[in-house]
Subunit: 350 residues, 2 copies
Amino acid sequence: MKLEIAVLAGDGIGPEVTAQAIKSLEAIAHSFDHTFLFKEGLVGAIAIDKTGDALPQETLDLCAATDAVLFGAIGDPKYDNNPGSKVRPEQGLLKLRKELGLYANIRPVKAYPTLLEHSPLKRHIIEGTDIAIYRELTGGIYFGKKTLNDEGTVASDLCEYSKEEIERIAHLAFKEALKRKKKLTLVDKANVLETSRLWRKVVTELATAYPEVQLDFMFVDNAAMQLILNPKSFDVILTENMFGDILSDEASVIGGSIGLLASASIGDKFAMFEPIHGSYPQATGKGIANPIAAILSVAMLLRHFNLNEEAAVIEQGVEKALELHITTPDLNSHQPLSTQKVGDFIADYI
Amino acid sequence: MKLEIAVLAGDGIGPEVTAQAIKSLEAIAHSFDHTFLFKEGLVGAIAIDKTGDALPQETLDLCAATDAVLFGAIGDPKYDNNPGSKVRPEQGLLKLRKELGLYANIRPVKAYPTLLEHSPLKRHIIEGTDIAIYRELTGGIYFGKKTLNDEGTVASDLCEYSKEEIERIAHLAFKEALKRKKKLTLVDKANVLETSRLWRKVVTELATAYPEVQLDFMFVDNAAMQLILNPKSFDVILTENMFGDILSDEASVIGGSIGLLASASIGDKFAMFEPIHGSYPQATGKGIANPIAAILSVAMLLRHFNLNEEAAVIEQGVEKALELHITTPDLNSHQPLSTQKVGDFIADYI
Ligand SMILES: CC(C)[C@H](C(=O)O)[C@@H](O)C(=O)O
Ligand SMILES: CC(C)[C@H](C(=O)O)[C@@H](O)C(=O)O
């Protein structure tokens, strides 16, 4: 197979971990006789610095012209103190999601047997956890109308959802549930929000098309609790944009390190793959960033193109690295290895 | 001191746990020579059943005429399947908060030494945790305009905040920080929301009046993670309504049982005290509900009226009960005691 991949490495540790992910992809290309072409684009703080725009048109055109996007991380402390400033790195990411129509963000959360000790949660709580979070990514309060009055004393954000926006991601989540334990939990705040009541109604209607899937509902406050009390009780979680942002970061603690979690952002035409961690500016250039989330992101990319065997090889490489403690300082305080060494090991394994 | 207290016991286990809380208050009245008058009012599902209204005007008048409100819990499964129905128990609670102007919800989160084993989190993570969460309670997306188009296909909820709404609770949070470790963390999503940017601006301005307090900012997704990874790093958390709902329930896992967490809802004129747990309908009438959260709520009530010694006695009674394993099944699988027995023990201690 031949794939053109846009590489938006972004800021902070983004370039370092993305380089390791590319290394894995190149190893796959070599072993399985595929051709992967990588084309770099600017996004985030580095794009602002060079072009004044967090997502230059050129980058958008590049993404639209390639088969998939590999994303690193964005964000720089110099923009953090003033999140209200006109141009911010995050805007690049949000615009990219919107423009490419990446409406479904998929985050798998697993407790790796070799990492159970690293989680702040007790072993018996997390052992066996395997959750897929489906977060709506291009709607809700993220993209609704924002206002600030002239005096700067009253602000508002509108959360809006339409039936269509809910249906398209709900279909993906139901289909995923069919491949797994056949359980779908819709997380909402239907006792308070009108949009949540619409989610419940639309998803309930859709459920008749998936009679094998057991659908249940949970209020977001309770879900935030149950994710920690009883993570094993979840299979597929479906939720709106803001709740998904909070819950998926919360759920990352189960795995023992946010440096392990990959994500896919899928639309009808385009797909983007990225680690869920941020740009971690304090770690930039030190070789201590965990490349595994980025590497698992390319496994998700391969699976997206039905290269399942290839994806499995990468995942095995990761598991082997974890097993042998070939890991960065976040997972290994005794004999930590560098970002590059971990990347090399996994690429060699492939 | 003489206090008139409105008692809104509500649904499910509400009446059972409230009865134990009253028992503690009566013991305090007896030992310290105070007079507490209790006046019952209807709220929640039971109010809907009896009057058609989740918060009858009579109840509201009662609350407005008394010195404080003691609240149990609300919610009944028969209203759960249809959260969109016109009359719902939760509306009673939301209306009560709004009408009484209870804009600050205060939830202390502590890891009790005797309960460390009960938490899903590892001992070294939670030991020593002591957080006060200040959640804005009468604004934001809970009370903004809601719309649903005629076809029932597009819904919206407006999140709105004004400078005044932010300032009044921020002052309370800063003052609380002064009495504690002098650290205040504002949790928001300022990289996405206009309202969050207003929160940051207003709170930053206010901080100049509290130079001793160290103010920092954290995005809500990160906060959801840090609460589990490093709960000891927090002192006072200040946040808006929806984020506070999610984070405070999440934080409840630290203590080992949601049955321990009390809350105070404060306004300029009125104050209400309630356990943070819900009506737990499955447990109703079985005598298994943990009354400690309700009992600790009356300790918060007493402190509100500067009856600090009295509050401390109740808290000591609770700690004694926990130490001696005089606890309900949620905390005690070997020899659990009933709701009433736990209430009796604490009242006797007083
Ligand atoms: C950077 C930020 C805008 C973004 C979000 O909130 O979606 C991030 O937290 C994420 O989850 O990808
Ligand atoms: C019952 C519900 C409306 C309420 C809320 O969301 O505020 C509850 O979860 C709480 O936190 O007191």
